[in-house]
């Protein structure tokens, strides 16, 4: 069977690294997309004067006059072009970028993949994803400081199924919105590792470049899940000094505003924006949503999170 994410690359080491990365992610798109990668001179691709959309280390340009999306890596020269409507991303990595392929995959190529999968109706959201013991799907959305990973680790340690601690894709299927996990280890900082007790017994994988340690849900007592239909969405932040976890219900309009914030690529490519916005709107209707301030009580009583939305 042809893999849904095909890799075309003549550079053996880069091709092997990209295929291994995709295999680890366990993404199985419903339609084929292709990463066509060459190692060469990204300068030859030409300049792009369109307004930039900045991500850490990555610059994205989209819209008129040429349409489509151009993605550039700032750490080492690398460029990807996604022409309008195309399901193939043309990627040019410099030798310097190829030499840092793991870092390149984690930042630049992940952004390329996110924008490529958008072409087949998979829309990225910055969210952890889980399934609770009552079989309800959860999304936990927020920025890098929102406690998503620590919460995901805590939930896994309570036996929940966890798909991802950071990168999910939303897609519509049969009238319902599903969230699909991009599988990576749950990445904890030292503070989070100390607080989730079960972590102490698990080995974890050192992620030195991120100054974190990664844990698979299975190591923490949970299991991995590839897809859920979200029934609960939490927009989290970590309380400053607050001991108690609190949840405030959100209306659908507030939920949609938050979803747009954490699914920010919705503003790119007008031909895809409508579908993306419709998906976020459907999700805002589908799930109950809460703005949650995470407190330290959660570590002693993880069940409180489910109690708050009961």
């Amino acid at each position: 069977m042809t893999p849904a994410i095909a890799v075309q690359c003549a550079h053996a080491d880069v091709a092997a690294a990209v295929r291994a990365w995709l295999a680890r992610s366990r993404l199985e798109p419903s339609a084929p997309v292709t990463l066509a990668i060459e190692v060469g001179d990204p300068e030859l691709v030409g300049s792009d004067e369109r307004a930039a959309f900045w991500q850490p280390g990555v610059v994205v340009r989209a819209g008129p006059p040429q349409g489509g999306v151009r993605i550039a890596w700032e750490t080492a020269p690398a460029v990807a072009d996604l022409p309008p409507g195309a399901t193939t991303a043309r990627v040019v990595l410099s030798a310097a970028a190829a030499a840092r392929i793991e870092e390149c995959l984690r930042t630049f190529m992940l952004t390329v993949l996110v924008l490529l999968l958008r072409r087949i109706g998979w829309h990225h959201i910055h969210a952890a994803m889980a399934l609770d013991p009552q079989e309800r799907g959860w999304l936990i959305a927020g920025n890098a400081e929102a406690g998503k990973s620590t919460t995901a680790a805590l939930l896994a340690s309570c036996g929940w199924a966890v798909g991802t601690d950071d990168v999910s894709f939303l897609t519509g299927q049969g009238g319902a919105v599903s969230a699909i996990a991009y599988r990576t280890p749950i990445a904890l900082r030292p503070g989070g590792r100390r607080l989730v007790q079960r972590v102490a017994a698990a080995g974890g994988v050192l992620l030195p470049e991120r100054r974190k340690v990664g844990y698979w849900p299975e190591e923490l007592g949970g299991r991995w899940i590839s897809r859920v239909e979200p029934e609960v969405i939490m927009f989290t932040s970590v309380g400053t000094g607050g001991a108690v976890t609190e949840a405030e219900p959100l209306g659908q309009r507030e939920t949609l505003i938050e979803l747009i914030r954490w699914s920010a690529w919705v503003i790119l490519e007008s031909e895809l924006a409508e579908q993306h916005l419709a998906l976020l709107t459907a999700l805002a209707r589908q799930a109950r949503s809460y703005r949650v301030t995470l407190g330290r009580d959660l570590f002693a009583r993880p069940a409180r999170l489910a109690e708050l939305v009961a």
Binding site: G63, Q252, V266, A273, L277, T281
Partner: protein
């Protein structure tokens, strides 16, 4: 001089619980609007004068034309700041 307004072609609108969320692909901003604001933006898919818009409000809500005109004026003023309207002036 007749002034007609149209909504910016880069706007995307969605309705939720009777209110609206507006995404502006051109400025990369998004914001929420009231039910009547959403109704006005929907009407502005085609060029309309302020009077047209006020009459559209009176047809939809139980308000006087004077009250509707004041609401439309405030709405247009807010829209100017958000770059969501195109303005055509005809002699």
């Amino acid at each position: 001089m007749t002034t007609r307004y149209r909504r910016h072609p880069e706007l995307r609108l969605t309705a939720l619980e009777g209110e609206g969320v507006v995404l502006h692909l051109g400025t990369r901003r998004y914001f929420s609007v009231s039910e009547s604001g959403l109704a006005l933006l929907e009407a502005l898919e085609t060029a309309r004068t302020a009077d047209d818009l006020a009459r559209a409000l009176t047809a939809r809500y139980t308000v006087t034309l004077e009250h509707a005109a004041a609401s439309v004026g405030a709405f247009l003023e807010r829209c100017r700041g958000l770059d969501v309207l195109l303005v055509d002036r005809e002699p």
